[in-house]
Subunit: 415 residues, 2 copies
Amino acid sequence: MAEIAVLGHGVVGSGVLEVLLSHRDSITRRAKEEIDVKYILDLREFPELSYAGLFTKDFECIRSDPDVKIVVECMGGLEPAYTYAKACLTSGKSFVTSNKELVAAKGAELLALAQKNNLNFLFEASVGGGIPIIRPISQCLAANEVSEIAGILNGTTNFILTKMIREHMAFADALSLAQQLGYAERDPSADVEGADACRKICILASLAFGSHVYPEQVHTEGITKITLEDVAYADAWGGVIKLIGEVKMGENGKISIQVAPMFISRESPLCNVDDVFNGIMVRGDATGDVMFYGKGAGKLPTASAVVADVIDCVKHFKARKYLFWEDAKPDYVEPIGAVPGDCFVRVRGEGSSDEAFAAAETVFPGAVRIIRREEEPGEAGFSVTEVTADKLDEGFARLSSMGVRVLGRIIISDY
Amino acid sequence: MAEIAVLGHGVVGSGVLEVLLSHRDSITRRAKEEIDVKYILDLREFPELSYAGLFTKDFECIRSDPDVKIVVECMGGLEPAYTYAKACLTSGKSFVTSNKELVAAKGAELLALAQKNNLNFLFEASVGGGIPIIRPISQCLAANEVSEIAGILNGTTNFILTKMIREHMAFADALSLAQQLGYAERDPSADVEGADACRKICILASLAFGSHVYPEQVHTEGITKITLEDVAYADAWGGVIKLIGEVKMGENGKISIQVAPMFISRESPLCNVDDVFNGIMVRGDATGDVMFYGKGAGKLPTASAVVADVIDCVKHFKARKYLFWEDAKPDYVEPIGAVPGDCFVRVRGEGSSDEAFAAAETVFPGAVRIIRREEEPGEAGFSVTEVTADKLDEGFARLSSMGVRVLGRIIISDY
């Protein structure tokens, strides 16, 4: 019998108990051992639960119990999760977490600690909820060099964008609907400003390329500035707007990494990833493009990923899983302003739309005009190719001096 | 150092050598041991290759060499692959294969043999080429009951259908283009008649539900009867035609399984799986729908999946991978004629289209008419819901007696 402790009995933590109890037989068969929860750490009490007797408020009684071999953390937030993780990994306990903030901020350190103590530190549920992604990247794609990862990593923003695209709902209305449905928090900033997606692309980048990338190193834009006009332009261009987290390995051994709204072509498999679903595309030299799709959050999907990690821990008490990356390297992240790419730009001049576009063409030779339905007087949309953000900014300053104001710009992806 | 042998130096076998040689460092790092090819079995000779000295025509020298711990089979076809697999698994060698015919026909037997001898029998590359699917189903989804799997499992037919849908190419022309491009064999029957997809859904069904399903037990239809008229009707209905392999677990513990062309809605993530790509959707009680997408065939994707299995074998010399199913159970596969579902039907009467549809409505009350562009005189298309194949056949006989001929029928999926 393998005894475990669960830290936190919120949405994910209670889901872990639910999955363990409802799938007891198949889990025992797969783990080849019964998995038994000995403690649940939570400051609240749940006297109505059948397993109310397992609750404790004292982490130390878990840390000091030699029978507990695996600790599952579903509290979220950096502290006290980080302190608990270190304490467990130095007390002979493997650590399984769904906490992306923890992994994005402290992954390299905790992986090193786990390795040193011959324990496992697993976090499948921290990215993509129920979608298997950490394990496929680290194992299944072992005989393959990953060159690029791009994903729709945040279900809340994807739900909002889907409502804007399909039902022409304004951003504020779609956000408020998401809040009513429980898809967005009362303070939605971590989702809509891109911080959540940023943590996830950091974890994927660290795993795929072997060096830790910290959220502070990543250029991150959310979707708060996206308007229905942008959505209409994406449609006229031949696609939709999605919030994408992406990382690419360059030939110089540096990565370019960012989170930003992007135009995605209708031909792309990422285009039909709608509502609260996530989709993660991994580009490898041997496999080509592989995509993983599913619900990126939610109680049971996330809990089932946590429990799968626990099963893996039980099966590998002696053999450590190969999952490792080094700490951050200096000068490893390319300054994003210097990376060329395609971009959509929306401007408004004082004259006609044609005049506004003519001005744009003098500044960006080769710009291709995109005309949306109900284009307003003086407004023009166009795409430019292979331009850096720095060059764009220079061009925008010139446009401004010509009386043409830039209303917005959105990256055009090549997925 | 881990020594292996590769059986067959065709497309996949030579790809395995290419991947092993070109990724030597990263593979060694991941396997924690160097992987060295000691023999390559092939009846042909390749004197121009840098590793020409490894070739042998004698399987016995591989079988009897105690240094060879893993044998990789990339020959395809049931024999001699099956004989070699048994010989290896009884001679202390783990066996890795990309051969779906072998796994679909002999999986249960070879898994039992591997278990008995404490060896591994791995076959990630047999389904979905470079897409990780066998491992995610068996591991990542361990804490989750799978209820259903549906996939676009054959790249050749998907390429042909994509050409029919996008470029209105007739079936015969699209097939001949696929042959020119090397996507279809000179004798394309295993692909276009559905046998290849059938083997793959058998493997997935066996793995997900624990009992072997043999190809002979599966109702299998190919795409040879699909016309551009059907494609136009699918478009008018709101989707596309895809060749789907699907298996569902019923509440009575029996499975319904089939391979057939189906209407897939434009909202489905399977809809954008185009050209030679495969997409496999796994529906679980905790995870919801998870989809895996990528190139389902090809030299390097398939070879990289084979090599990932080899790495896994090397890492698990002592701990066996949990991958197992039992032999077939009697009465386990539901007769497909008794399983209700939605269906599209295309008919032609001797009078007008309206008259043809009126006849259809008397036979199938509640039928919903679908009108395609350029509908021909007397032709009518319609959908019926929740009807069994047996009931359809009865209805078709009645229609025929009313002078209305059935031109075709296609399942409407709910994915």
